[in-house]
C-alpha cells in the first residue's frame, strides 16, 4: 500500500515538474537569446526588475511575446523597437542618447566638472591664504648642522 502510494506520489510530482518548463527545454539556444534580450528590458509592473527576472503576469506575457517573435525570425533590434513603440524608451535599461535623455547621460559628467572647478577654486584660494614657508638664517644654520650629522643645538 505504502509502495503504491509512493509511486503515485512520484508520478504526480513528475507530471507537475514536466508541465513547469516546456519552453526552456525546447530550444536552449533560443531561450538564451530570450534571456539575454529581456535582461536589458525593464519590467513596467515592478520597475526595478528586468523582464528576465520578473515573474509578474505582464512580464511573462512579454517574454512569451519576445520568444514567439524570435521564433518568427525577428532580430533583437526589431523586437527592441517593438517594445519601445509600446512602452517608450523607459523599457530600455540602456536608453538612447537624445535631447530628452541629455540630462541623464551628461548630468554625471556635468556634476564632475562642477566638482573639479570647485576643487580648483578652493586649492587656489588656499595657496593664497597660506604664505610660502621661508627659512630664517638661524633655521638654515640648524638644518645644515643636522645634515652634517650634528645634534643641531636649540636656537637660543
Amino acid at each position: 500500500m505504502k509502495a503504491v502510494f509512493a509511486i503515485l506520489l512520484l508520478v504526480l510530482c513528475a507530471q507537475s515538474a514536466a508541465r513547469e518548463a516546456p519552453s526552456a527545454a525546447a530550444d536552449p539556444v533560443l531561450e538564451e537569446r530570450v534571456i539575454k534580450l529581456t535582461s536589458d528590458l525593464r519590467c513596467l509592473v515592478c520597475q526595478n526588475q528586468s523582464l528576465a527576472d520578473s515573474h509578474a503576469d505582464l512580464a511573462i506575457d512579454l517574454k512569451n511575446q519576445v520568444r514567439s517573435q524570435m521564433q518568427a525570425g525577428k532580430s533583437d533590434a526589431e523586437i527592441r523597437d517593438y517594445m519601445v513603440a509600446r512602452y517608450g524608451d523607459f523599457v530600455l535599461y540602456d536608453p538612447p542618447f537624445k535631447s530628452s535623455t541629455l540630462l541623464l547621460w551628461a548630468g554625471p559628467f556635468a556634476l564632475m566638472l562642477i566638482g573639479l572647478a570647485g576643487l580648483a577654486v578652493y586649492l587656489r584660494s588656499r595657496r593664497r591664504r597660506l604664505p610660502a614657508a621661508e627659512l630664517t638664517p638661524s633655521d638654515r644654520a640648524r638644518a645644515e648642522a643636522l645634515l652634517r650629522g650634528g645634534s643641531g643645538s636649540e636656537p637660543q
Binding site: 509592473v45 520597475q47 505582464l58 506575457d61 513603440a85 512602452y87 517608450g88 524608451d89
Partner: protein
C-alpha cells in the same frame, strides 16, 4: 557668510527631494500619444459572436477604458465612469483585459456598466499593443483614430473634469 553655506546646501537638497517625492515613477510617458491607435478586432463581451474593431469607431471621439474584474483599482474609478456615462458625452468602450467572460459579466452586473460595449482581450495581446501595464488605463481617441490622451491608473473626478472633458469638447469641436 560661510556659516550659512551648509544651510544653503541643505535647502537646495530639500527642494530637490520634495520635488522628487511629488513625482510618480509609475507615470511613464506613453510613446503612443498623438499616434494612431493600434488597430484591433475583438469579440464583444456580451455577444462573443459579434466583433468590434477600431475601424468601426472611425469618425467618433471615443474613450477606451481597460478594465478587469480582478483589478482592484478599477473599482475606484468605476462609479465615476458609471456617472459619466449617464451624461452621454461620448461613447466609452471597455477593453476587458485578461479576464474570463463569466467573471467580467458578473462584475458589470454587480457594479454597473458604463460601457457602450466591452471587448474581450483574453490573452492581453491588444493590451500589449496599447502599452498597458497597470490596469485601469484610459485612452481618449479622436475622430481620425489618433490617441490624444492616456491615463494610467484610476480616473478621478478631477482628471475627468480638468483633463478629459476639456479635451473631448475640443476634439468634438
Amino acid at each position: 557668510m560661510k556659516r550659512f553655506l551648509p544651510l544653503g546646501i541643505f535647502l537646495v537638497l530639500a527642494v530637490f527631494l520634495a520635488a522628487g517625492l511629488g513625482l510618480n515613477p509609475r507615470e511613464v510617458p506613453s510613446p503612443l500619444i498623438d499616434k494612431a491607435a493600434p488597430p484591433f478586432r475583438l469579440p464583444q463581451l456580451q455577444d462573443p459572436g459579434k466583433s468590434l474593431g477600431t475601424e468601426d469607431l472611425k469618425g467618433k471621439v471615443w474613450i477606451l477604458n481597460v478594465w478587469a474584474s480582478w483589478c482592484v483599482a478599477c473599482l475606484e474609478e468605476h462609479p465615476i465612469l458609471v456617472e459619466f456615462s449617464k451624461q452621454n458625452v461620448l461613447p466609452i468602450y471597455g477593453l476587458n483585459y485578461k479576464d474570463t467572460p463569466e467573471a467580467a459579466l458578473k462584475w458589470l452586473g454587480k457594479h454597473g456598466n458604463p460601457y457602450t460595449l466591452s471587448m474581450e482581450d483574453r490573452d492581453g495581446r491588444v493590451g500589449i499593443d496599447y502599452g498597458v501595464y497597470g490596469v485601469p488605463e484610459t485612452y481618449v481617441i479622436d475622430r481620425n483614430g489618433i490617441i490624444r490622451y492616456k491615463r494610467i491608473g484610476p480616473v478621478t473626478v478631477q482628471i475627468l473634469e480638468q483633463k478629459i472633458l476639456p479635451l473631448v469638447r475640443q476634439l468634438q469641436g
